[in-house]
Symmetry: C2
Subunit: 463 residues, 2 copies
């Protein structure tokens, strides 16, 4: 879970292809309580939490509220890449709100000091959920919407938050659509090898020899002398540099697997249509495996062709999430969350996956987090706090997952809730707006989601 850069935003807003139709959101700020769980901390005040709102589809005072529980990034990024929600709002005459997660985008509780210790300590899942509960309750009052059922939406970590909102605040939230939400793997209930195995499968399913080519390229890369062919701005000169290079490259494949949409997108950077296909064609198209690997990385890191060399340490930052944390403030915040509540000890081992051996154990996470943030992760906390797979008392949650998404196996669950599987679907494809290139599976999934949500709204209203 990660973002390449914040800088792509202006591009996203103005670009025409692959971005969902732009709804007329108004950007606002909500005076939010800094610390919901301590009345005597430094957090005895408020901060400005950003949210986007549009009432252009709303049947005022009656239609439901569709509330996106923002995740690890600038809220515009999600609003502009979740067209399904506004399309659904138009059908069901809903008010739409996209709320920004504290410590991301412009919702920095302590401005530029937000990532100092101890200021960063108010960044927890529980605080974020309480933010949304308070914001929904107060906005309903202000907008004359007290009779309007609330449905929450989220993708990825935002989908986890949607699930948690329904578990934690069913008094406030009538139902949740959680797209590609890895609630199990992030609660320590997964297999460390699963993630990169699934990334590998995506490429091997396109062409078995694609995996071989990637393996072969990484193998040759072990000889540091060969690195010269790699267009790096600085020649690697240490084990650390080698690890950084490997992480940088693995990350490119991770992103292409997650974002393997059937049309070009500008979500988390620029991505061509069907990037896995493009990558494999690149890997298999040339004579020199190392040049092919470099060009494949370029699909992700040099989509504009402007870079003349790769600067390993600015294009990719290693962090407590082995799938990457992106860059900028958002990456700091996500790193902190990966160091505290959210467990992501995923490893590549070169046996069940095509990547170099890159261990990331509970112990190495602990060492890193202790040094970087002065915290010791608490294993099992998320499972205790948000139920793990013991969801028998939960209701009104749709878990959707895409077959192409390496996060999909992190969120499977019991049949007592609604699980929608989207064959040919990448990371929360269903949240995106309709597109001519959509596979039939996602069209069907959106129809099921739409019908289910309409039903929840009706139930909430008439019992």
């Amino acid at each position: 879970i990660k973002f390449i850069a914040d800088v792509s935003l202006s591009y996203v807003k103005n670009h025409e292809h692959g971005t969902d139709p732009k709804p007329k959101f108004t950007e606002k700020y909500f005076p939010q309580i800094l610390d919901h769980f301590n009345y005597n901390s430094m957090g005895n005040g408020t901060f400005d939490q950003r949210y986007l709102i549009t009432d252009e589809y709303w049947k005022r005072g009656y239609g439901p509220i569709f509330f996106y529980t923002g995740n690890e990034g600038d809220i515009w990024e999600f609003a502009l890449n979740s067209g399904f929600i506004t399309e659904l709002a138009a059908q069901q005459r809903a008010l739409v709100i996209f709320a920004e997660h504290r410590y991301y985008g412009k919702s920095l509780p302590f401005g530029e000091d937000s990532f100092n210790i101890p200021e960063v300590g108010l960044l927890t899942v529980e605080q974020a959920l309480a933010d949304y509960a308070i914001m929904i309750t107060e906005l309903k009052g202000q907008l004359g919407a007290s009779a309007c059922p609330v449905i929450v939406f989220g993708g990825s970590y935002g989908g986890m938050l949607s699930v948690y909102m329904r578990l934690r605040y069913p008094n406030i939230v009538a139902g949740a659509l959680a797209a590609s939400a890895p609630i199990l793997s992030t609660a320590g209930m997964g297999e460390p090898k699963q993630f990169f195995q699934d990334v590998t499968s995506d490429f091997e399913n396109y062409a078995p020899e694609c995996g071989d080519a990637v393996r072969g390229a990484f193998q040759r890369l072990q000889d540091l002398a060969r690195v010269e062919a790699f267009s790096l701005c600085q020649t690697p000169s240490s084990d650390k540099d080698t690890r950084q290079l490997n992480g940088f490259l693995r990350n490119a494949f991770t992103l292409m697997a997650m974002l393997d949409y059937p049309y070009s997108t500008h979500f988390m950077g620029n991505m061509p249509a069907n990037p896995v296909k493009v990558a494999c064609d690149t890997m298999l198209g040339g004579d020199d495996l190392l040049q092919a690997l470099r060009d494949t990385a370029g699909i992700v890191y040099n989509s504009t062709g402007d870079l003349t060399c790769f600067d390993l340490y600015t294009l990719y930052v290693e962090c407590a999430d082995p799938t990457g944390c992106g860059l900028g403030f958002n990456s700091l915040a996500w790193d902190y969350q990966a160091c505290t509540e959210i467990e992501m000890c995923f490893e590549s081992n070169n046996v069940t996956d095509m990547f170099p051996v890159m261990p990331f154990t509970v112990k190495s996470r602990e060492q890193y987090c202790s040094k970087r943030w002065g915290v010791i992760p608490r294993l099992g906390w998320l499972k205790t706090q948000f139920w793990g797979d013991a969801l028998s008392t939960a209701s009104n949650i749709i878990f959707s997952n895409g077959d192409l998404d390496p996060w999909a196996n992190g969120g499977s669950l019991s049949s007592s809730l609604i699980a929608i599987n989207i064959s040919e679907g990448a990371h929360h494809l269903d949240l995106r707006g309709a597109n001519d290139a959509d596979p039939a599976s996602v069209i069907k999934a959106r129809k099921m989601e739409s019908d289910t949500i309409a039903q929840w709204v009706k139930m909430e209203r008439y019992g």
Copy 2:
């Protein structure tokens, strides 16, 4: 909700009458996380949380776990006055644990500094619930009890915590018995006048003229000159003293109504059998109303007859809970909770009740709390956080209430959960052990509770 004193404890432990049969509890301490909701606070460590445990009834590794969610006091006090739980454990072969609430009894996170600012800030309902969730999870592992369903029990605020545990952690808790838990009134969903009206009713139901006598006595007391007859250690000389005297006296009636058990008890101090009857007989028995009022107060404050005068400011401390906070450390902790999450703006008005006019508004609470603890209460927080009366998705909770209990009207709710009403029952009478003087209603209630809990355990085990 309150306790008169910690000092009665040694007495309770050794006394023979009116205390439930003493189970063989072992006193232990659990290394508990100081701050569950901030990884970078002063709370980055542990404290010793006390709990009592007995496995004398337990079918090891199989029988259920009965877990008392300790409330605002020394945990021994609850363990020794909740004999029903151990009686039920003997029937159902359960392991019994009584856990002490943080900041009460010996579970002081920062020792004698616990009530300094900001150390007191870690005293919240959420922290207490997380304590219990972590403790249950870890003890189950240590005791080879991972297959054992957990049922939580609690009376009064402890009953609120039991409800919240089932709402919040159904992954950990299979069901809850909440006895006399005022979940609505403490969430700001009650009527300010209800509480003292119900106290008054208890006395008037015994004898209508009893209420008149109390009213008359308070009326005469307004003339400060008459106070001499009152056996006070210091003569009141200010409005503050008068208010203190009124609060001191009103508090005696509150306690007798709450603890109107059919046999003498030593819970929250010493109480004769049927104290409301004793009080009314006293009020109506003499010629001088003021002497009668003094003697009635003496039932509560001078049960041993040792006091030669009443010291108003040591026998009763005014606080953010208008029904009293008791004395000692426990009273500090409860005052803080009443200043933050738990709303108890109950007033007497001398119209719907028999007491002097003693307003206690949202505003006066705010002023007091801001001055005393540097906090501003957040109205509606408990309702947002723990669902108020929107309990349609909740399950496996028994709400029991006694007709004689002024707290009873604070906890009524929807029919989707099990509500047991105990006519002739005072404050969580059902949690006490069997007694020859028990009314038929409580015997029947305990049978229902027992059957229901056995059913929950079975369901949890076999689905």
